[in-house]
Every structure is written in structure tokens, then in C-alpha cells.
Amino acid sequence: MSGTRDLNRGLERDGARVRNLVLAGVGGHGVLALSRVIAEGALAAGFDVRKSEIHGMSQRGGSVLSEVRYGSSVNSPLIPDGAADLLISLELLEALRHLHRLKTDGILLVNEQRITPAPAGSGPVLYPEDVLDRILDPFPEARILPAHDMATELGESRAANMVMLGAFAACTEDIPIHGWEEVIESAFRSDLVPVNLAAFRAGLSLASAW
């Protein structure tokens, strides 16, 4: 794995460093489930954890944002702008919306799906044509993944969030792979566990090949 996408620096288990993750997407697409799994994974690995989210409108197609922080000791549930080590977005436009949260050398993982927002004013919403350029220009190392397509192929498009988790898992040794798998096994209804595990592993092997 190339050094720039490697999160395994700076977080000493007993040091003061805190890992800052920003998770973005569209209501109903699993941002909150993803942040829950990450927070549980970090707790199980022995870290102090804070997770915060605004979810009032999460089921009605609005923007959804969650923040997870872990380390030996964490105070604020909110991450300062420009301080996120990692931004995972389940949608391209939402990645753009929260780009300024990421450190200059932060890791960016984006599901390549485009979802047109509902119009807020008169006229149709023009999905920015140049969304990819605007992401890749400041973050040329950004990884754009076909997580939605991969999950759909596995039979459950809603498992795209676990594909993204798999990709994240490949970027860090903070939390061991079996730790993630245990959390997935307890986080989902039993009939949904196999497909979510499969999605996680698909994301993991994709990212391990980078």
C-alpha cells in the first residue's frame, strides 16, 4: 500500500493523538450505521470514542453527517475543520460538501454514486459536472470506489457502506480485521450479516490491492 493512503502513522496507543473521521452521505444510505460500526470497532479495540451526528432528517433524503473520534482519550465530539484524518463519503457531491473538513494530507474514500438533490429553489438542480475534478484537484490521491455497484452485485445495494468500511479497514491497523468482523456480526440483523460481511471483505480486498 502506498504511504499516502496509509493511516498508520501518528496514533500511538498511549499518546495524545486522536483519530478523526468524518462520514458523509445522503439520508437512508447507511452513514449512521457505518459510523456506529466504526465507533463500536474502536471501542472494542480499547480506544476512548466519541461519535456525533445530526440525524433529524436522515430518512428524508437530506444530507447526513457523522463524526467519529478515537484515541487514548478524547474530549470534543466535534472535529475541527481541516483536522479530519479521513473522510468517507457515500456520495460524490456530499464528499465535495465536506472536503474542507479533511487535513491537507488526509485520506479520502468516496463511493462513486451520484444522487441528484431535490430542488431547493426554482428550476432543476444542476448536479455539478465537474464534481470529480473538484474533489481530485485538491486531493489527487482520493480513492473513488464503485461501492454501490459492488454491493448491488452481492445482492444488497444498502451494503455499500460496508464496502467503504472494508476500504477504510485496509488503511489502518488501529483496529484488527477480526475486530471489524465481530462488530459487523453483532451490528446487523442475523439474516443481513452474511451480505454485510461479504461487502466488507470486498472493500477490504479492493483496497488492499491499491
Binding site: 461519535k51 456525533s52 445530526i54 465530539p77 466535534l78 472535529i79 438533490p117 432543476p124
Partner: protein
């Protein structure tokens, strides 16, 4: 054995109430407080009830306290206004079992109509305020709040904010234990304390004032709640709640008075901190509540000159405040270049009424008819937004019916013939619509009210209410019938209209608006997030869409506007058929249905 698990602040409060042996909890849903009662009803071991509104919730909890139970009542900030009448007087009457009112404030108004700071209400009601700064404290302080309530014979406000309610952090809990119900003295009549006749209330007011003095002594001596964390003596900060966490992030070395019980303010601790540091600051969200009290002590302090009065704080905002003060010691984390790269020209992504939502056809019709619409609070408030844009006013829950009556009276007095209709959801109707309707009937009004009955309290996440007949714990109770209620209060013209039938709704509205007596139209359609079974097969485009754009005016997320041409998302469409009705070219069809084609 204690385990560390991740809990939201709301879940932790519920856990704390159970550990404290609370036996009764009541609430009406409201973001960000809703999950407290939801957790309690799921966990069991306590009687948990949805009340029709917050005044009733508070009164039942107060009754439970008198009856000998520890009782918790939870609500969002704006609705403590609804419960303020019993709250203020119960402060005089005092409690028997501990009584804790959770006020969930919403700085930044993530999902609220105002940003009021309920520490102010607690001060006015002369009750103590407890304020946790993370989930562990939310659990521990809930328990302490019950103890304070009993020891000082007072209701206690546990004040939390959205960032506490909806953030998760590790909490030590002991599971598999059932906590014994708290032992409270049996109820016995106490006329002088509990019957607030003026003659009884006067001495109770004296009691309340002396209680405040004792509470302040307690606040200064309880180190679990209020303590000075000495550090660098150049900067001292008074803070509490989630602001404490932000402060610790940007000034880890400062001397801090951490207030877990900000009211009554432990003035002795403030003086002690002030005397030990060069410069004193107050970091608090919203109003200068602590700051004003500190200034009243004659202590020099910096607060709202450098920290905002509105919105939420966060580490960036707190660090910027210290920068403004010229105190360069604050470490502002994060990349400066990135911080300044604020995103430009990104289309917003507002929430929308779901595909197939029963509210959509109603607002489309109201907009088409050009009516004046007094609205209310719920998912249907989205009908005020583009492209439906058919709401004139929205104030607070239940206001639609009173506003319609008043507006109609004023318009008619001015000879203005424009027609007014009130629109209210089923849960909101139960909450506070009924009294408005009684008023219209009694005062000879003639307004027409639309009750949008989607069989749930949708906006706050689908809680049951009296109209559904299912209780907080999922049992089937007695259903309160909306139509029967309307008739019982004297509305003679009550009818059901299918909200998916635009022509029928328009005809019904015309008829009722032209009849000079009060009327109620009930539009029933199950919430699409609760009942996901398709209404009909998804809509197909039969012809090449000529791009007239009429169907876009429905604002349906299943209809995509591709360069002016309609494209139906078959996976999202549930066949409600509204677009079929509005398409002037009859190009939209549902399998097996004849096109209606509203010209």
C-alpha cells in the same frame, strides 16, 4: 459486572433513570429528546408513557412523584413552554418521589423553530439545573438529579443539548441487574404544601427562596458536579456541558471551573477561581447565563464579547474566541488552508417529502387553489418549501387551527374574501389541535381544517399517539378516533377525502370553504416509511415526454428532471398516481389504471 458500552446521551439518561429506580416516565416526542422515552419503553422495568402533549406529560410525572415514585419527564426545549404552567407551580408545591425534567435544548436549531436557552426557564421557575458534558455524566447526573430532587423537595431540570443527546461515548453500565424501585415515603395528604391556594402558596414561596440558598451551598460543595480543575494560572475558564469538552480540546492546560450544576451558580467557586487566575473567561453556548451572574459578583470576565450568542460552539469557534481576546495560547487544531477552503457553489440537499407521501397531493392542491394556509409542525411543514410552497404561517404545534380562525375573522372584517384553511397532522391534532377546534366552534367560526392522518408521529421517527391506539410499549390500548372527537366538540361537517385524489380534494375544499360553518376534512394515507407496500405498480411513461414540467411541481423524488424531461425512478415510485393525474398529456400511466388527466 460493569461493562463499558457506547451510549448516546439520551440512552445514558434512560440508563441513569433505571439505575435510580425511577418507576414512571412520560414524554411527547421531540428532537433531540425522543430516544429517552423510546429507550425506557424498550428496556422495561419502568412504566413509560407517551402523553398527548408535554403539559400532560409533566402533570402525570408530577402526579407519579406525589404518589411515591421517582418520575422522569423528557421533552425538547421549546415545549417546556407548553409544560411551563405546571412546572412553575410545582416548584412551589415540591415533590415526594424525585422528579426530573429533561430539557433537550437545540443550539443551532438542527430541528427546531427557535433556539431558546432553558437555563433561563429554570431560573424563572426557581429550580436547579444539572448539565452533563458526555454520556457517562448523563447517566451519573440523572441519578444525582433524583437525589437532589428529593433532598431539596424540588423538581430538577436536567439540561442537555443536541450534541449531548445525539453523541455517543463510552459509559460504564451494569447489565443483567434489575434496579430496585427507589423507596419513597408513602403518599400522605399535605394540604399546605400541595394545594396551591394563595394562602398556602405564600409560605411556599418563602420556602422556595430559602431552598435556592441551600441549593447554592450544595452546588459549591458537591465535587462530582462542580469542581475547579487547577492548571495554568494565567487563564481561568468557567464552563459546562459540551462546551467543557471543546474548551479542553483547545486549552488543555487552563484552570477550569467545570459546572455540572450551573444553577444556582456556586458563587464561592467562581470567586475562588477568579482570585487564582490572571484572566477569567466564561465559555457557554447561547445566552450569557453564567456570565451575567459572574458579572453581578463584580468579577471581571470575558464571554460573549468573543464567543457567539447564537448557534453551537465547536472547537474552532472556541479557539477563534480566544484568538480574538488576544490570548494566543489556544491551539487551533486543523489545517488552516483547508479551513479556509469553504465549499462554494454546492447545491444544497434539503429533506423532501418521500415518494408517495400522502401530504404531497394535499399541498399541490392547496397551492393550485391559491388558498391561504395556516400550517403546523410535522413532516407536512415541508409543504412550505419549493416546489409546493403552499404555507403562509407555521409557529408552534397546534397553532394552525387558532391562526385560521383569527385570520379568517380579520380578513372578513376587512372585506377580504380570500379563503383560509388550517392544516394539521394527526399527532399534532391530538397534541393541541382539539382545543383550537373547540374555540372555532364555540366562537361561531367557519374555518376548514385539514387533518393529515398518516397514522404516526412521522417527523420525530414514527412514535405512536392516541390516534393510533398503540402505547409506548407497543401494547394495543384504546384508540382515540379523530372523526369522533371532531363531531363531539361540535363540528357537524367532518368527512374523509383520499389525499391521492386531487380532483376530489379540490371539490371537497371548495364545498367546505363555501359553507359558513366549521368543517374538518380528514386525509388518510399511511406514512410511506411505515407502510412500504406499493400503492399500485410504478408509473410508466407512455409517450416521449414533451417536457412541459407540470409533474415537477409535485416535487416527487421519484421523478427526475433530466434536462426538462421527466424520468421515473421505478424503484422509488410506489404508484401513488399523483403525477398521472397532473400530466396534461396523459403520458404517465399506471398499469391497469385509466389515465385521469386533470386538464
Amino acid at each position: 459486572m460493569a461493562n463499558r458500552i457506547l451510549l448516546s446521551g439520551n440512552e445514558a439518561i434512560a440508563e441513569g433513570a433505571l439505575e435510580a429506580g425511577a418507576h414512571f416516565a412520560a414524554a411527547y416526542p421531540g428532537t433531540p429528546s425522543t430516544e429517552i422515552l423510546e429507550t425506557l419503553s424498550r428496556r422495561g422495568g419502568i412504566r413509560a408513557e407517551w402523553a398527548p402533549n408535554e403539559k400532560v406529560a409533566y402533570e402525570t410525572a408530577y402526579g407519579a412523584s406525589l404518589g411515591g415514585a421517582r418520575a422522569l419527564v423528557a421533552m425538547k426545549h421549546v415545549v417546556v413552554n407548553v409544560a411551563a404552567d405546571p412546572l412553575f407551580s410545582s416548584s412551589y408545591a415540591g415533590v415526594n418521589g424525585g422528579l426530573v425534567l429533561v430539557s433537550a435544548d437545540d443550539p443551532a436549531m438542527h430541528s427546531s423553530q427557535n433556539e431558546q436557552d432553558n437555563r433561563q426557564l429554570a431560573r424563572a421557575a426557581k429550580i436547579p439545573v444539572i448539565e452533563p458534558s458526555d454520556s457517562q455524566e448523563a447517566k451519573d447526573f440523572t441519578r444525582i438529579a433524583f437525589e437532589i430532587s428529593e433532598r431539596f423537595d424540588t423538581p430538577v431540570m436536567l439540561r442537555v443539548t443536541t450534541r449531548i443527546c445525539h453523541s455517543m461515548s463510552p459509559v460504564a453500565v451494569t447489565r443483567g441487574t434489575t434496579w430496585p424501585m427507589a423507596r419513597i415515603p408513602d403518599y400522605s395528604r399535605n394540604f399546605h404544601k400541595h394545594v396551591l391556594l394563595p394562602a398556602n402558596a405564600r409560605p411556599r414561596h418563602d420556602f422556595v427562596e430559602s431552598r435556592m440558598v441551600e441549593l447554592e451551598e450544595y452546588a459549591a460543595s458537591n465535587r462530582d458536579l462542580n469542581r475547579i480543575e487547577w492548571g495554568d494560572r494565567t487563564v481561568g475558564v468557567v464552563t459546562g456541558g459540551v462546551a467543557y469538552q471543546y474548551l479542553r480540546e483547545v486549552l488543555p492546560g487552563a484552570s477550569v471551573l467545570k459546572l455540572g450544576m450551573p444553577w444556582p451558580l456556586p458563587r464561592a467557586l467562581v470567586r475562588e477561581l477568579a482570585a487564582g487566575v490572571d484572566e477569567l473567561y466564561v465559555v457557554e453556548e447561547l445566552d450569557p447565563f453564567i456570565e451575567t451572574e459572574v458579572r453581578a459578583l463584580g468579577v471581571q470576565v470575558l464571554g460573549k464579547e468573543i464567543f457567539p450568542l447564537t448557534g453551537e460552539l465547536n472547537p474552532d469557534v472556541v479557539a477563534r474566541g480566544f484568538e480574538l481576546s488576544g490570548n494566543g495560547t489556544a491551539t487551533e487544531p486543523g489545517d488552516v488552508r483547508q479551513k479556509n477552503a469553504a465549499p462554494a457553489a454546492i447545491p444544497p440537499r434539503p429533506p423532501v417529502l418521500c415518494a408517495g407521501c400522502g401530504h404531497r397531493g394535499v399541498f399541490f392542491t392547496l397551492s393550485k387553489m391559491g388558498l391561504i394556509v395556516t400550517g403546523d409542525i410535522g413532516c407536512y411543514t415541508l409543504g412550505a418549501l419549493h416546489p409546493l410552497e403552499s404555507m403562509d404561517a407555521c409557529l408552534c404545534m397546534g397553532a394552525s387551527i387558532g391562526m385560521a380562525h383569527g385570520m379568517e375573522a380579520a380578513l372578513r372584517a376587512a372585506g377580504d374574501e380570500r379563503r383560509v384553511v388550517g392544516v394539521i397532522g394527526d399527532s399534532t391534532f391530538m397534541h393541541s389541535g382539539i382545543t383550537g377546534l373547540i374555540n372555532t366552534v364555540y366562537n361561531g367560526g367557519s374555518s376548514t381544517v385539514l387533518v393529515l392522518d398518516n397514522g404516526t408521529t412521522a417527523m420525530t421517527g414514527h412514535q405512536d399517539h392516541p390516534g393510533t391506539g398503540v402505547t409506548a410499549t407497543g401494547e394495543r390500548g384504546q384508540q382515540v378516533d379523530i372523526e369522533a372527537v371532531c363531531r363531539a366538540v361540535g363540528v357537524r361537517r367532518v368527512r374523509d377525502v383520499d389525499p391521492y385524489d386531487i380532483a376530489a380534494l379540490e371539490a371537497a375544499l371548495n364545498e367546505e370553504l363555501d359553507t359558513p360553518e366549521p368543517s374538518v376534512i380528514i386525509c388518510r394515507a399511511a406514512c410511506r416509511l411505515v407502510d412500504r407496500t406499493p400503492i399500485a405498480p410504478s408509473v410508466r411513461l407512455e409517450i416521449e415526454c414533451p417536457g412541459c414540467g407540470t409533474c415537477f411541481e409535485l416535487g416527487c423524488p421519484a421523478i427526475d428532471d433530466r434536462d426538462g424531461v421527466a424520468v421515473i425512478d421505478a424503484a422509488a415510485c410506489c404508484g401513488c398516481g399523483l403525477c398521472v393525474q397532473v400530466c396534461p398529456f396523459c403520458g404517465l400511466r399506471i398499469e391497469g389504471h385509466e389515465p385521469a388527466g386533470v386538464p
